[in-house]
Each structure stands twice: as C-alpha cells, then as structure tokens.
C-alpha cells in the first residue's frame, strides 16, 4: 500500500473571479485553517482569476486558458468527464466542481443529488467556495446570524433551501451554481434539476427495473472495490435496516478482496440493541467481517460537540456517529452509505393514506408538518412565544419547496428529499463519515434516482420493492427480518437520556446564551439536583422533545464559537420574523 494509492478525505477551497490581494489573502487563510484540521493539499492552482486547493480525491484539468475541476465525497471521478459541460459532470458523477476561463469568469457548481456539500460566499466580482463552512466563516469580514436558518434547524433539523447559519453564506442545492460573468457580476442560480423530469411510468417491468437498479449501484461501487486502493479494504456501514445490507451485499459481491471488507455498526441511540444484533446476523450471512462500535456514556458531551463541529453546527440527527467515525479514520478504504434509500427506494416519507380528498393547500401543509412534527412538543422545550415564532418561520421557509412540487407526481418524495435528506441527512455521510475516509453514496446517483422515481408509488409503498432488490443483491438476504420488524419496546437507556447526557445538555444550554429560549419547566429544572436531571432525562427520552433540545444545544455551541464574531447575536431575535 503506497502513499500515492491512498485517497484523502475530500476537501476543496478557493476563490474564483476578479482577484484582489485581499481575495488572495483570504483564500490562503482558508487553506491554512484547513491545514490546521489536518488537510493535506495537492499543489495549489494560483492563477490570475482563480485560487484553488484540492485534496487528491478531486480531478483537475488545466489548459492554457481554462481550468476545470470536479470532486465529490467518494473520489475516483473519471477525468474525461471534465471535457463535458458541468451539468453533465454534476449529473454523471454526482460531483461538485468548477469551470473557469481566463481572468476569472466561470462557474462553481453543486451536484445533481445536492448531497455533496459545497458552500459559497459571493463577494464583489468573486465567489469564495469551500467544502467546509468554517473556513469561509472564520475568514469573512462580516457575519450575520440567519435566524430563519436557526428556526429551520429547530423545526426540521437543518437549514432549508441552501441557507446556512450565516446570511452571507449559502450551501449549493441540487444543480445550483455560482457564476462570475465576464463583466465581473456574480450571481447564484440553478440549472434545471433532472430529477423533476423523472415521473412514474406505467406499467413497468419490475424485475428488469430491479436488476438494472442493482447493476447501476454495483457499477458505481466497483471502482472502489477493485483492490487498487487501500489494499482492497472497504467499509460498508451496516445498520439493522435494508439499505445498508443491500450495499454490504453488493460490496461483498463486487470486491476483489471480500475478506478485506469490514461492515461497521453503531448504536443509533434509539433505545434498542436490535440494530447491532441484526446487523451482526446479516454480516455473518454475507461472510463479512463485522465491528460494533459504541460511545462511552462519560464521553457523550465530547461526541456531541465533535459532531456539531463536523457539520458546522447545522444538524444533529446523527449525533451518535462520532465513535465509529474515529475508528474509521484508522481503517483505510471507501465507506459505503445508504443515504436516500428510504426516500427513493423505500417509498418512505409518503403522503398520508387519506391524501386524495385533501385540498392542495392542506396537502402542502401536511408535507411540511410531516417533516417538522417535532414542533408538536415545542412548548415543553421552548417558551410559548419562541415556539410560535419558530413554527411560523419554519413553515414559511419550507413553503416555496412545497409549493414548487405541489402538483408534481413525485411531490411527496421530492419535497421530503429537499426538506430533509439534502439539508439534514447528507452532512452525516458527506462531511462526518467523509472526514474519515472517501465516502460513496450509491443510492443518490442520478441513474438510481431516475429508476426509482419512474416507478409507480404502489411498487415502492411501505418498502414493497425491497424484497426484490435485496434478493437481487444477494439471495441469502431473502426474508431476513430488519431490526424494525423485530422491535417491540425500546427498553435500553439511551445515551442522550442518561444522567451523563442530560447533565451535559442541560448545563450547556442553561448556562449559555440560548437559556432565554427555554420553557419555564426546563429553565427551572436544575440538572445538579436528583429531580431536576430527571426532568431533562424524560424529555430527552422522547424523540420530539429530544430533537428540540439538540437544536438548542447546537445553537449554544454555535454562539460559543461565533458569538463574538457575528452582529446581532442575541438568540431572542429568533422571535422577530
């Protein structure tokens, strides 16, 4: 195994446009911040209109008067894709990238799935870009809190529509791009998103579609399993669900060295060990080495803060991921993650059964409410006035997305995907797992999305397609129950609802700047007392109130980091729309 063969986790930063000395200095500062985090850059591209730094997962092509580049969390992008228009590269490789001409005009673009994370900060005649929000934020001259984004973090779990915690910086959504024109004008816009064109076709040959879907995922995974990197080692993430076992089976099938695979499981802190136990059963069935990694209860606070930092304080759905991420840092080989499976393949996140007679507006509202159900418990965690304001802001932020797809045949899927998968879920594989090893997300490729979105809903509803997909991946998976199939009650003590977890979160929030947002009950519950900590524990043991407490903890950690750098940092401003 040589140094050249090892792929680094993906990192990119730079600036494109009419360059000033200040622009160049800021780009250098961003690169230095990355280096302090352990990033090792390839040789920099320092041109009149471009400063670009990439790790070795990116492909870059330099001609006499132009530069093209593409990157994603997985790496291994075919260089010839840079000869095509950026829209094709974004679509075929699910890649972000850039295209520049002489003197700095050009485009920085997002990926087709939107799950690849890229932030942009437009400045006068230039656009700064980075795979990490922190590198942009720490080097910006002016920063303003985006309280709309914070309302969405509390309500949905992440900022929507490309917003970030700062009004000046945005995340590129599917097929979005930032452009610097020849005249030096800068704008952010969106090319047509091809997933809008994929509508249910009837009647499909389901057997053929199933085989094709499995073949497309296998093709996507194969370059990461051919043994040329990391000695053939690879790391499928394996939970008790269907998507991860499908990818683990495909990894075992496609690997040149299946004995080098390790399937990784951890506790998702849901109050049951069935995920890990069922995963162990699947790994044994597939003859794949299996490791279970869980976090220490005494280290809950450290794990939570590290996760928040890794996703730039913008999401906390997968706060339990850090222990396994630390183990993966010393386990070379691509990680395979099944993000998007539930929403695209599994028919999850569907409209309610009684959707048909509802009015258009009610249906839109139900799609938004379904992704922000945590708010039904808001008054237990937040002051009344805060919970009202958060709900109003969150709904208004989600409404344009719900409205855009209101009449689309895949309305519920696309709305859920854009309100949840892209903003809230994708940072976990793209940024957290992706910080450990190159991370492959086969279920959000354009080809898989196309096949899935063209299937009629009834073929996928309630996981109806999974038995065929799993059998096609490996017949040994036929009929194997999932953890959800077996779960009766959740009787384990959740780490987040333990005394250690509750005390960390309660102390963090109550002693921080977001304490003024707390409900009277939580404000009065002193975690140092035996009864006070139980009040916090009981709310943390419930999914909805736990979600809101996690959001307040994120806000507190963010204000600790940026409170002195942003203008108007008082979190009570969240009440003023």
């Amino acid at each position: 195994m040589t140094g050249e063969q090892m792929l680094q986790p993906t990192a990119v930063c730079g600036v494109l446009g009419r360059m000033t000395e200040a622009h160049r200095r800021r780009a250098d500062s961003m690169a230095e911040l990355a280096e302090e985090e352990g990033i090792t850059w390839q040789p920099s591209y320092l041109l009149p209109g471009l400063t670009l730094r990439v790790t070795n997962t990116a492909v870059v092509q330099r001609a006499e008067r132009s530069v093209s580049a593409a990157w994603n969390a997985a790496g291994q992008i075919a260089p010839q894709l840079l000869d095509q228009p950026w829209t094709s590269t974004a679509r075929e490789a699910d890649a972000c990238g850039l295209r520049t001409n002489a003197r700095g005009s050009g485009t920085v673009h997002g990926s087709v799935s939107g799950c690849q994370v890229l932030y942009v900060h437009t400045a006068e005649s230039a656009v700064f870009f980075s795979t990490r929000l922190r590198w942009l934020a720490e080097t910006a001259e002016e920063l303003t809190p985006d309280w709309q984004a914070w309302s969405e973090i509390l309500a949905f779990g992440a900022p929507l529509a490309g917003r970030t915690t700062f009004t000046e910086i945005r995340r590129l959504m599917p097929m979005e791009y930032a452009e610097v024109t020849d005249s030096g004008a800068v704008r952010v816009s969106q090319q047509h998103w091809p997933w809008e064109d994929y509508t249910p076709q009837a009647p499909p040959n389901l057997a053929e579609v199933t085989q094709e879907t499995i073949a497309v995922m296998a093709d996507h995974m194969r370059p990461h399993l051919d043994g040329t990197r990391a000695g053939g080692a690879a790391n499928p993430m394996l939970s008790g669900g269907r998507d991860s076992r499908m990818l683990t089976a495909l990894a075992a099938r496609e690997s040149a060295h299946p004995q080098q695979l390790t399937a990784w499981s951890t506790s998702s802190d849901a109050g049951s060990a069935l995920e890990e136990l069922v995963a162990a059963e699947v790994a044994e069935t597939l003859s794949v080495e299996h490791r279970i990694i869980t976090g220490r209860y005494s280290a809950f606070g450290e794990d939570f803060a590290d996760y928040a930092e890794a996703v730039d304080f913008q999401a906390s759905f997968h706060f339990w991921l850090m222990p396994v991420v630390r183990a993966l840092r010393t386990s070379p080989g691509a990680i395979f993650d099944g993000i998007g499976g539930g929403v695209l393949l599994g028919g999850g996140f569907a409209d309610p059964a009684d959707a048909r007679p509802r009015t258009r507006r009610d249906l839109q509202l139900s799609r938004i409410q379904a992704r922000s159900r945590y708010l039904t418990e808001a008054r237990k965690v937040l002051q009344d006035s805060v919970s009202v304001a958060v709900e109003e802001r969150a709904y208004s932020g989600a409404w344009p997305t719900a409205e855009r797809y209101a009449d689309h045949p895949n309305a519920h899927t696309l709305t859920s995907y854009l309100l949840r998968t892209v903003p809230g879920i994708s940072p976990a594989p793209a940024k957290v797992l992706g910080s450990a090893q190159p991370t492959v997300m086969p279920m959000v490729t354009d080809q898989v999305a196309q096949l899935a979105l063209k299937l009629p809903h009834q073929a996928k509803a309630d996981g109806a397609w999974y038995p065929r997909l799993l059998t096609a991946a490996d017949p040994a998976l036929r009929g194997m129950p999932t953890a959800d199939d077996l779960t009766g009650t959740r009787h384990h003590k959740r780490r987040i609802a333990s005394r250690e977890g509750a005390r960390y979160l309660a102390n963090l929030i109550r002693s921080g700047p977001a304490a003024g947002l707390l409900s009277a009950e939580l404000a009065a519950a002193d975690p140092a007392t035996a009864h006070g900590v139980v009040v916090w524990q009981k709310l943390l043991n419930s999914q909805r109130s736990q979600h809101l407490i996690r959001g307040l903890a994120l806000l507190t950690l963010w204000l600790e980091q940026y409170g002195t750098r942003v203008t108007a940092a008082d979190p009570l401003r969240i009440q003023h729309a």
């Binding site: 059963e281 005494s298 379904a370 039904t376 003590k493 250690e500």
Partner: protein
Amino acid sequence: MPDKPLDNTWVGTRVLPAARRAKRAGRRIGRRARSAVAPRIGALGAAALNAATTDLTIPSSGAEQVRRCGVVVLGIPDYPRIPPLWREKLIQAERHSVPTVLMVRSPEDIEHPLAAVVTHLVTTDPQLLAAVRDFAGAERTGMVDSLASGREQTSALFALTRVHTPVEKT
C-alpha cells in the same frame, strides 16, 4: 445513513405510543410479580453468580425460556464475537424487553461487542467499577458482591434493571 420517517398519523402519534407504554408497563409489572414469587435468571456463558441461573444455551431452550426470565446474565465468551446462539437469545430478550446484564471481570471485557448490546453491566470488582461506569453510565452500571448469597445477588440484579430512569440517590 439511517433516516426513518416519523409516524404522523393519529394512530402512530397517540395510540401506538400509548400501547407500547402500556405493553412495557405490563411486562414490567408481570416480570416483577413473577420475580417476587419465583425469580428466574437466564445465563449465557459463565455468569459466576451464587444465585441460581437457567442455562439458555442448552438445545431445548426456546424463546419462551428467555421470555420468562427476569434478567439474562452474560459472561464474556472465549470467542471475540457474539456467538450466533447467544445472538439469537439476545434478540429474543430484546423482543420481550428482558434486561440483559454483562458480568465484567477485566478492563478488556468492555471492548467485547457484547458490552455494546446489553442493557446493563455489573462487576464484582470495586477496582473496575469506575471504568465500567465510564463506559455504560451510572444508571446502567452495578456492583454485585461475589460473596453475597444467591438471594442478595438476585435482588441486586433486579434492583439495577427494574427502573428505567431512577432518581439519583444523594
């Protein structure tokens, strides 16, 4: 990355959680009553307790045997993985909300995958208590006196596993 939709129906948000709570409470009450009359401890591996245990690894031991246990106690096996038969019993215990308790005898025991899947960990060694508590949290960690009688050990195991969120003793 696991991502499950919240159940948004009235049945899903009101009826099912209430039913689950009632089921869990019913099981707890039933187990407590049964344990008061005829306490039963299942064992996977060398439990090394003075309390009487039922070996769940014998071929005739089915799911019903696990369900009747008030608690299942496990010793660390020689095997570095969870033995397949034990895994089957642990899944049965999970399905029936039966607490599972790992006996920790050395610092390395908490590195075994069993430590990641049981509900509680206990040790007979006071020197190990801090390390076990560090790993599993105060509410999931207990001490069992190796010289105590079987009845006292049984009582200690049931006291540890009986309450989900106990009020801290000050």
